[in-house]
Symmetry: C2
Subunit: 353 residues, 2 copies
């Protein structure tokens, strides 16, 4: 990997000549290997303009209206962690993929893959969390499926959720709509989810308990679009973190993005844990944060309003879209240095969502 | 298990007092344990009338139209088998769940859970199959997701597909609409898929190769509804087989169903393999067959037309709906005996789809 910035990619495997002939964990990272798999395997096979738009949700014309449709599988380990569990994540994650597309989330499906031997009480806890999360997000779980795999062929429970939302007439957010001068708005601190999960795996303890930020962004996204219908695009920076979300926008819009390091909110405990674990918070998963590309003239009003929302207290303008270096995300440090924020090449945190 | 008919349930575990405290393979069978899990865990948590209707697809009002929405995870082992593979199954199965609800299948999502170490070439074969199956069924795969789990926490590849279809105005099929006098129409031979998969697992050989019947039923279902819009309901008898599908209809409609054993088409090889393996073809999965409850006056014309369809050459009227014994499915043998065809209590064939 010759890209500048590759030094943050601790644990990344070098790509063999001719590409990989077997799946590695990095293919699920949300970073460069995920993108390679998408471009080399999935997109050519299913070639169609909706899939190839690479949004977090497909927007389709159907039955006379415009629908958003999205899917995600959840394989997080452990299934219970501070601030949430796999069930809450499975609802919020799919709700958020609809919401950041500007859709009103409506209907959810759930497909469970259970490992033989899973304690019924654990399944019931997960299902109750899903039910609570549906109620909080205002969605209805209308269809489901359960499969059981033999012991040792799963890991307690994997959940797929798919979601349908309604896209209001005239709304058209897209990762390809960022324009030079636009501002980057982030709704709060980064890295909370990933570090909360890692802290359980690694047995880390902090003075204050670090919790996953898993939450439905449906209300916050709707508020933002009400204030500023001209928002270019929104993403929830999950797997691959803020860096990956911004790289996708920079690539799709063919623009540069420059971040101000000092403007990006990171909790002290998250910063500390990341140093301990050799992680970069920019690449750590979030499950209740939203990053938006917004027109410059609306940025200040938007960030002020977002700060009044329960999920947006630490919202900030963290950077801007440039008219040069298309596809490149860079970051200026407090002391004026600049570094490239590349797409994650390997896998920092397997099975984080 | 005191039900008559329980003798067919080879391999069924006795239910412990107070129910199971851990997940067993039977919870994924599509039979009684699946129903128990649904009623004891999922339905109470997500209580809503759409989910509780227990159709193969949810029909929801959305964006001014009526949509069908369904989900299924596919965990079949092995992933390649005579007549198909997990990819083809994953598209056809979800298309069929939409089609038997009277919907026109339109959009598909795919969520992959890949096991670290899966050969890229195998994934590519699966993806090509999915692409072919989409084209044949007239659906578009518009959104997807890929997760990778560590070696030994999956089994090559699990696939979830969810689907959206459009339900024409006025159409209302339901498992609760069977009425005394209605006929049971089956579109072809039963047990082909399950026995084809088992034959690979068990290393069985037959004089003629037995193939899975995996196919899109979208065209056949549309043809049948065009001829007879008054069809009460349709099901594709997958996991749990014909017996489970008919038990669900009998229970939901509060009617009895009586089958004529001699009228049910079963291939000689399937019958032979079932005897060898201790299986009952009535409980073996099908992936390209359709069973319909049809008004008596339309039955003969329908079966004649279905026989002209490439997937319906061996279609037959296999039984009728009775006005007594609500919830009970029974079968008269060629020599006049009668037996109860109960819901499967344990698991005949784990991971068949």
């Amino acid at each position: 990997m010759n890209e500048p910035g590759a030094s943050v990619l601790a644990g990344a495997c070098p790509v063999p000549r001719g590409g990989y002939d077997r799946i590695v964990l990095g293919h699920g990272s949300g970073g460069r290997l995920s993108a390679d798999l998408l471009h080399q395997c999935f997109l050519p096979a299913f070639a169609n303009p909706i899939l190839s738009a690479l949004e977090d949700q497909a927007v389709v014309e159907c039955a006379g209206g415009r629908l958003a449709f999205t899917t995600d599988s959840y394989v997080v380990r452990p299934i219970f962690f501070p601030g949430g569990d796999i069930g809450r994540l499975a609802i919020n994650g799919t709700v958020n993929d609809l919401a950041v597309g500007g859709a009103t989330p409506r209907f959810i499906s759930a497909g469970f893959i259970l490992e033989e031997g899973l304690a019924m009480e654990e399944l019931q806890r997960v299902v109750r969390s899903m039910s609570d999360a549906c109620r909080e997000a205002g969605v209805t779980l209308v269809t489901g499926d359960t499969k059981v795999v033999d012991r040792g062929k799963g890991d307690k429970v994997y959940i797929n959720t798919s979601g349908i939302g309604v896209v209001p007439a005239g709304r058209s957010l897209s990762v390809s709509r960022a324009r030079p001068g636009d501002r980057i708005l982030l709704s709060g601190t980064i890295g909370d989810h990933g570090v909360a999960v890692m802290s359980v795996r690694e047995g880390l303890e902090f003075e204050t308990e670090l919790k996953s930020d898993t939450a439905s962004l449906a209300g916050l996204a709707a508020l933002m679009l009400e204030i500023c219908p001209a928002i270019r695009c929104m993403r929830d920076p999950t797997r691959g973190g803020l860096a990956s979300a911004l790289n996708e926008i920079a690539a799709a819009s063919r623009v540069g993005i420059q971040l101000q390091e000092s403007a990006i909110p990171v909790r002290g405990e998250v910063r500390g844990a990341c140093e301990l674990l050799g992680l970069d918070p920019l690449y750590v998963a979030n499950e209740g944060k939203l990053v938006a590309v917004v027109p410059p003239e609306a940025a200040e009003e938007l960030v002020a309003k977002v700060r009044t929302h329960p999920l947006g207290g630490e919202a900030a303008i963290i950077g801007a879209v440039l008219d040069n270096r298309p596809g490149l995300v860079s970051m200026r440090s407090a002391i004026g240095g600049e570094r490239v924020v590349a797409l994650l090449a390997g896998e920092q945190l397997p099975r984080i969502c």
